[in-house]
């Protein structure tokens, strides 16, 4: 098992290398030169622009700049923001917890809603409850995030005033208010996750329920709680785990929209702002950081696979 984990970790190195090249190379394809923006935009003089370029090190060859950046990034040092002049790592560290709270809560919502729905429909395919779940999840998958957010805000915040429509209150300040402010972002972001998990679990579970070993579990007289909760669920967990891994990437990305809608200053809105301001180092740092998190999450998913399936461990 240990060698298995070690091999997976080593396999990440080339992957992260490729990601870093892409992230850093984004500079080359994004239109506009940050030096011009910083030098004062349209009215900037050529001397001033050159000065700024030198300051940023943009006059040096691309590969040299990349090498330096990657070397620092490996130590989680992404340089300083062109805009605020603060270390980007610090800015990320300040904003990421909010994003994590949104994405984590949305994932929890997805699991809490998706797994029961998946079980209800998966254990009895084509039953009335199954059809209902299929209908609901299809609708949930089809609804665009921003539209869902608008409906939720209108219904629960504007017309009824049950929940706040935007903003963020730290947990340490007031857990109750923190929760109130997080509910709508969680539901907005987590609905698609819940539907996707439910669908995946439904498919996996209905296959498993028809398998010979489930018949065996029933034949030894195990109660449904054991047959479904122990045997069928564990056998159906691999595909669900895969979508959970994919969903985490989606959730981290999806926070960009949700943070914008609900006015939360997390990492998603940080990336967006950085792009608008042509703050390349901030953009690269934040995107690289998100990529890193995604890769680590997928590593964890891979390892849990092996824990769930004895055959993977052997291979």
């Amino acid at each position: 098992m240990l060698t298995f984990i070690l091999r997976r970790v080593l396999a990440l190195i080339p992957l992260l290398f490729i990601v870093s090249v892409i992230v850093y190379g984004l500079i080359l394809i994004v239109p506009g030169d940050p030096a011009i923006t910083l030098a004062g935009g349209e009215e900037a003089t050529n001397e001033r622009i050159e000065e700024v370029q030198k300051e940023l090190g943009l006059d040096r060859p691309f590969l040299v700049r990349y090498g330096e950046w990657v070397g620092n990034a490996a130590q989680l040092d992404f340089g300083r923001s062109l805009y605020s002049d603060l270390p980007i790592t610090e800015e990320i560290a300040e904003r990421f917890p909010k994003t994590l709270q949104i994405a984590g809560g949305a994932l929890a919502f997805g699991l809490l809603v998706g797994i029961p729905l998946g079980i209800i429909s998966g254990i009895r395919p084509r039953s009335v409850s199954d059809r209902a779940v299929v209908f609901i999840t299809s609708a949930a998958i089809a609804i665009p995030t921003f539209w869902l957010a608008l409906i939720l805000i209108l219904q629960l915040a504007v017309y009824r005033n049950i929940l706040p429509s935007r903003g963020f209150v730290p947990f340490s300040e007031s857990p109750a208010q923190w929760f109130e402010h997080m509910i709508l972002p969680w539901i907005t972001l987590g609905t698609l996750t819940a539907a996707t998990i439910a669908r995946q679990l439904r498919g996996a579970l209905s296959d498993t329920m028809g398998s010979d070993h489930i018949r065996t579990s029933r034949s030894v007289g195990l109660p449904p709680v054991k047959v479904v909760g122990k045997h069928a669920l564990k056998n159906s967990s691999a595909p669900v785990l895969t979508v959970v891994g994919l969903q985490i990437a989606y959730l981290l990305g999806g926070t960009v929209v949700v943070e914008q809608i609900f006015g939360i200053a997390g990492l998603g809105s940080y990336v967006l702002t950085a792009i608008n301001r042509k703050d390349f180092p901030a953009m690269q740092g934040a995107v690289m950081f998100i990529a890193l998190i995604t890769v680590v999450v997928n590593l964890i998913v891979d390892i849990s696979y092996a824990l769930l399936n004895p055959k993977v461990r052997v291979e």
């Binding site: 398998s211 010979d212 065996t216 579990s217 034949s219």
Partner: protein, 338 residues
């Protein structure tokens, strides 16, 4: 043991007495009666073979006894097991009997064990489900069972997953799982069909040994008369959802009374003298929706006459205790070997 746990029926009469058992499935507003008024009985500690081709309803009738059919199955008739009526039991009652008093082993050893739990986990789960008790006791019992079914180094192998076992070994584990609570009846549904010939006979021998040691009765469902000949005491032949012949094993092999039985016997490889061709029964079992109202075998029977296709054929109880469903059984003289 001061008070032996023997109910009156099991002391005197059969352990399992099935009477007029019918099973039908309804799909798309059409009802198909897959099993039609089947009766048979199993004596305590004895083995009854239920024989027939696929589509005969033999597996359905045996799984109906323990509630392992899909919930769309409609089961009528009676099946008394040790004085208890199995038909119409609640699912909770069925669960108490399943794996405890009546166990089942299946045809597919490769897929019948749960791949993501260790063999030990599955065995102890089955044991504790019915007996309760500590994990340690259950592990000891599981080890004992693996030793009993002939698996070397049982303690060590309890920690392994099914994929570490060969097909024959998995069927042994499956047998251990079925017998861990010392059931009084074992339903063996084609337990050797998927195995190599040499392993087949090992498993059959093992089942017989275990039957002697543990004293359970076996309901042996198979299409293979060779298997019946080596393990069964009595045989019940099913065709198209009905019982067509019942007899003790020796009389049956010496003188089959039903043309279908004769056909089955003649298609056994070693029943045919060298140089003669194996004679398979031509045709296949009709679908339940096409079962004729008269003799269901008429379409394939070499002795069919007009009388065979007029009315439903009754099951006739003969003087020697045998049972046959054929209008011509008195005139026809049949032998296993031709």
């Amino acid at each position: 043991m001061t008070t032996p746990d023997i109910t009156p029926t099991s002391a005197t009469g059969p352990l399992l007495e099935v009477t007029d058992l019918s099973v039908s499935f309804t799909a798309h507003k059409q009802t198909a009666k897959v099993v039609d008024q089947v009766s048979f009985s199993v004596q305590p500690g004895k083995t009854l073979g239920i024989v027939g081709e696929s589509g005969s309803g033999k597996t359905v009738s045996s799984l109906a006894l323990v509630g392992l059919l899909p919930r769309t199955a409609n089961i009528t008739g009676s099946a008394r097991f040790a004085g208890q009526e199995l038909v119409g039991m609640t699912t909770r009652q069925q669960r108490q009997i399943r794996g405890n008093d009546i166990s089942v082993i299946f045809q597919e050893p490769m897929t019948s064990l749960d791949p993501v739990f260790t063999v030990g986990n599955q065995l102890t789960g089955a044991h504790r489900n019915h007996q309760g008790g500590s994990k340690k006791d259950a592990l000891d019992r599981a080890e004992e069972m693996l030793r009993l079914v002939g698996i070397p180094e049982p303690r060590k192998r309890l920690a392994e997953y099914p994929h570490a076992f060969s097909g024959g070994m998995r069927q042994r584990v499956m047998i251990a799982l079925a017998l861990i609570n010392s059931p009084r009846l074992l339903i063996a549904d084609e337990p050797t069909t998927a195995l190599d010939v040499t392993i087949q006979s090992q498993i059959l021998e093992l089942l017989q040994e275990l039957q002697q040691a543990m004293g359970m009765a076996i309901l042996f469902v198979t299409h293979d008369l060779g298997v019946v000949a080596s393990v069964c005491d009595d045989v019940s032949v099913m065709y198209a959802g009905q019982v067509v012949e019942q007899a003790g094993i020796d009389e049956f092999f010496a003188h089959p009374r039903h043309p279908y039985s004769e056909g089955l016997l003649r298609s056994m490889p070693h029943s045919v003298p060298k140089g003669e061709r194996l004679r398979m029964i031509p045709g296949t079992v009709p679908l339940p929706s096409r079962f004729p109202t008269s003799c269901r075998f008429a379409g394939r029977c070499p002795y069919a006459q007009e009388a065979c296709t007029a009315d439903p054929i009754p099951l006739e109880q003969l003087d020697d205790g045998r049972v046959v469903r054929c209008v011509r059984h008195r005139e026809l003289v049949m032998e296993a070997r031709s």
